[in-house]
Amino acid sequence: AQRVTQPEKLLSVFKGAPVELKCNYSYSGSPELFWYVQYSRQRLQLLLRHISRESIKGFTADLNKGETSFHLKKPFAQEEDSAMYYCALGATGTASKLTFGTGTRLQVTL
C-alpha cells in the first residue's frame, strides 16, 4: 500500500531561518514524489517533483530511497513562503493517482 507521512502539522520559523518540511513514504515500487503548495485563497499547485531535480522558489527536495524520505528544504525562509505544503506519492507508470500526506502548514514570522 502507498502511504505518505508528514509528521508536522505546523512549522513556524523566523524570516531568514532555514526550513525543512519532512516527508516519508511507503511504497514497494519505484516512487514518484512531488511537493504541492497551497497559498492562502489559492488552488493547490505543483511546487516541484523529484524527477526534475530543480529548485523552485529556492526550495529543493532530494529523494532518499534508503530512508524513504523526500524532505523539502530552503536555506532562507521568506514571508511569502507561508502556505500549506503537501507531499504526494505517485505510482510509476499507472494512472495519475496521487497519494497525499496530511500536509504541513509553514508559518514564516518576522
Binding site: 524527477i51 507508470g93 494512472a95 495519475s96 493517482k97 496521487l98 496530511t102
Partner: protein, 114 residues
C-alpha cells in the same frame, strides 16, 4: 484559459440525497481526476478518467461514480449521502494519463451534508 473550473462552488445537501459535481479541464487536457479532501487531511484519490475511460479508482464505496464526456469535462456523482461525505471535492486535469503528467487543480466544490 481560466484553468480547471468546477461547479458549484458550494453545496448543501441532506443525508440520503444525491449530488452531482462538475469539472471542466484545461483546454487540451484529456485526463480528469477527482479527489476528496476532508478538513485537516490531504486530498484522497477517488477516480481518474482518460479519454472517457476509467483509468483508476480509489478506495471509495459504489455510491461514488463518475463519467467523462466527449469534450473531456467530467461529473462526479454521489448517491445516498452520508454526513461523512462532507468535504472539499477537487478536480485535477492533466494532458496525459500517468503521474508523470503534471496535474492542475481546480478550486474545489465544498459539499456540506446535514
Amino acid at each position: 484559459d481560466a484553468g480547471v473550473t468546477q461547479s458549484p462552488t458550494h453545496l448543501i445537501k441532506t443525508r440520503g440525497q444525491h449530488v452531482t459535481l462538475r469539472c471542466s479541464p484545461i483546454s487540451g487536457h484529456k485526463s480528469v481526476s477527482w479527489y476528496q479532501q476532508v478538513l485537516g487531511q490531504g486530498p484522497q484519490f477517488i477516480f481518474q478518467y482518460y479519454e472517457k475511460e476509467e483509468r483508476g479508482r480509489g478506495n471509495f464505496p459504489d455510491r461514488f461514480s463518475a463519467r467523462q464526456f466527449p469534450n473531456y469535462s467530467s461529473e462526479l456523482n454521489v448517491n445516498a449521502l452520508l454526513l461523512g461525505d462532507s468535504a472539499l471535492y477537487l478536480c485535477a486535469s492533466s494532458s496525459g494519463p500517468s503521474s508523470y503528467n503534471e496535474q492542475f487543480f481546480g478550486p474545489g466544490t465544498r459539499l456540506t451534508v446535514l
